[in-house]
Amino acid sequence: MILDGKCPTGPIETSWDRHRFESKLVNPSNKRKYKVLCVGTGLAGGAAAASLGELGYNVHAFCYQDSARRAHSIAAQGGINAAKNYPNDGDSIYRLFYDTIKGGDFRAREADVWRLSQVSNNIIDQCVAQGVPFARDYAGYLDNRSFGGAQVSRTFFARGQTGQQLLLGAYSALSRQVKAGTVTLHERREMLDLVMVDGVAKGITCRNMVTGEIESHWGDAVILATGGYVNVFYLSTNAMGCSVTAAWKAARKGAYMANPCYTQIHPTCIPQSGEHQSKLTLMSESLRNDGRCWVPKKAEDCEKPAADIAENDRDYYLERKYPSFGNLAPRDIASRAAKEQCDDERGVGPGKRGVYLDFADSIKRLGEDTIAGRYGNLFEMYEKITDEDGYKQPMRIYPAPHYAMGGLWVDYNCMSNVPGLFVLGEANFSVHGANRLGASALMQGLADGYFVIPYTIANYLVTVKPGEVKDDHAAFKESADEVKADIDKLLSINGTKTPSEFHRELGTIMWEKVGMARSEESLKEALELIPALREEFWKNVKVVGTNEQFNQELENAGRLADFFEFAEILTKDALNREESCGGHFRTEHQTDDGEAMRNDEDFCYVAAWEFKGTGVEPELHKEPLKFDNVKLAVRSYK
């Protein structure tokens, strides 16, 4: 089937304004009659729940953490982009739009990206009004810095904790609505099913993670803002609880999963130190503003302390390969370059999977105090984890799975192909194409939550009668019974391997075969290994405890079961996409000097996969991408 994103036509500069005017409105006195469920309370979900509550809708918000403030948006460090052009350095909405399309390697929808760029400016104003303490200069004006992949300074920041401050802003807006009675919070709940009535999303089934109770919640619309899926690689920069579960449950009920093979491997993470590792820690790529990436030129130098390697024997590979962007090359490019150096036996540190990020020159030029002022908390974090002092010796970094550009397919209204199911933030696929630029994730989450969904959801709500289907409908009991049966099954297997052992194995397959470089051969191998491991899981997993208790083993087992099915679709998407673009690199498709080679003739489309059953071939639906405003070009950062 050919999918239609229902984007506005005509001049792009006015597309969002026209769409807003043409959008339907819900009468203020009718809004409270509509119940909207919002799953996830990060930047997208928190902002959406708060804004919809403020408009007067009856909102119920759900999160698996003990507080809405703990969603993983909180961990974003570097900043948030906006086209304010405060520094007068040539930025504009059009430039942000252009950079995002190009950064995404021409695999995103133009209209969605335009809207994002346009509302980016409103986000900054909104956050300032909430009391987000953005960095300010001594005249009291907002400060900006440049960030990976951009040649203008358009990134706003709050020390190294921008995500935290923006999330606390959204959380404060949410708290205000809780007090006002428009939002009801349900913490420590995990969504385990999407309830469908006559092909329309009408509610969710979730597990109370404290008591084990299976709860039914009805809603006139369901919003998923449940983040990304890169924990499919086991080791990633995501929080331990991040999973594909909510999105996958929706996919099992018919929502299409779009471009799952677009995963972002972030270049500046702390390398793995051993087998015991449970997650990888990211350090903001703002470090690349002042740090220089290098490896020894000669493999035999790799064991030497960095200080003993002469300047001439160092290979500043990003500066060498990409003279105009240098150390600020976009993430996909910087990550692949690091991998290339390590594959060439010139990596440093344990297992030789690491490259240096060196601040010596910047410290010499600006002084240690200035560097500490900019990145002090990152140096501290690095020292806590590695026991090394980044001021005295270069840091070691290595790429790690970080972000999912793919996600559930949505139209311009952020509604999936399932009527009544909306998807926001990282959980949807829409704006980042095949690669996300730095400081764009926070922008998208808040854009979707504050400034898109409050307008677009009305287009759907006016077509349904509020409260027409409630939780006394048979579909809710059916869904709850299915969820209980799945839980009982997991608990009854009583095999010999724990969920974390299985997760590690799945992660190894995904990282080795479906990681930074993919080939037809490696992907086909993965497609043998994943289903075999999945089958073993369902025969041999050991989940201790019961459902009727606080049971983290059960939570992990359930999430892993979904990762198994999802991993297969991710791999199939990677196999289908016979080109290299952004974060998706097929070794068969590269230029002579190892750069990604797109195939616009055959693959300029969104691949949206329809789940047809476990172990059954999924069906591919395509949404062709049209570029009327930006010319398709080979992405070059040289």
Partner: protein
């Protein structure tokens, strides 16, 4: 390294709970404290025993989910460090480690090391915000805010809401937590407008939810993983007095 752990086990609020002893026979100095516990749990799970429940999520020291009292000190006593960022190289071979949940009347135990911190939510919901509407706000640069004021506000805003301040306080006071939010907003022009009602409402909510008062022990600052300064409690008191005048 070989360690002996004494871990608080408690099955819900009605259980009395007790310390149980576990061996951690093969600990790497590069492991984080939680990864050490993961290994203990892996062993428990393999042998069909109930695993030790503990809250954790981001494991990079920012979400505020992890919450353990280690050897009597919330987060384990390393300066400005959450449990998840505490690494085993800070311990010695043969050490005995006592691991307990946050202890405070306002934080009932859910299971083992997991507590219910909903009281903190109630304080925030009482007034921890500016009442701005989505959209209807001026340009971000319309109100210049001097760098020192923005920095002061940011110092306060770094709170991760973990509750270590409450757990370390003999009075289970949440005044550092409350003071940080009150101070962050009170010094900013956009937060000043509602400063009086905010401080009164948040203080009242703290009282209602079982948190005590500050009596200047400063344990909160010592245990705070973000180093939030007790000057924000002084600021809270000043704002409170101003609101009463």
């Amino acid at each position: 390294m070989k360690l002996k752990l004494h871990v608080w086990r408690q099955n819900g609020q009605n259980d009395k709970g007790k310390l149980e002893t576990y061996d951690a026979p093969n600990v790497s100095p590069d492991q984080s404290f939680l990864e050490m516990l993961d290994d203990v749990n892996l062993d428990l799970a393999r042998t069909g025993r109930d695993i030790i429940a503990f809250d954790h999520d981001c494991r990079e020291g920012i979400c505020g989910m992890c919450s353990q009292v280690i050897n009597g000190v919330p987060h384990g006593g390393q300066d400005r460090t959450t449990v998840c960022q505490l690494h085993m190289r800070k311990f010695k071979d043969g050490d005995e480690i006592f691991i307990e949940p946050w202890k405070a009347r306002a934080f009932p135990v859910i299971k083992d090391l997991v507590v219910d911190r909903n009281g903190l939510e109630k304080i925030m919901q009482a007034g921890g915000y500016t009442s701005c509407h989505t959209g209807g706000v001026p340009d971000g640069n319309a109100l210049p805010i001097g760098n020192p004021v923005a920095e002061y506000s940011m110092d306060a805003a770094e709170c991760i809401g973990c509750g270590a301040c409450v757990a370390s306080c003999p009075n289970s006071s949440a005044m550092l937590y409350t003071g940080a939010k009150v101070a962050q907003l009170a010094v900013l022009p956009q937060g000043k407008v509602e400063a009086q009602q905010r401080v009164l409402a948040m203080t009242e909510a703290a009282k209602e939810n079982g948190f005590g008062n500050c009596s200047n022990h400063y344990e909160c600052q010592a245990s705070c993983p973000k180093g939030i300064n007790v000057k924000f409690i002084a600021k809270l008191n000043r704002e409170y007095m101003k609101a009463l005048l």
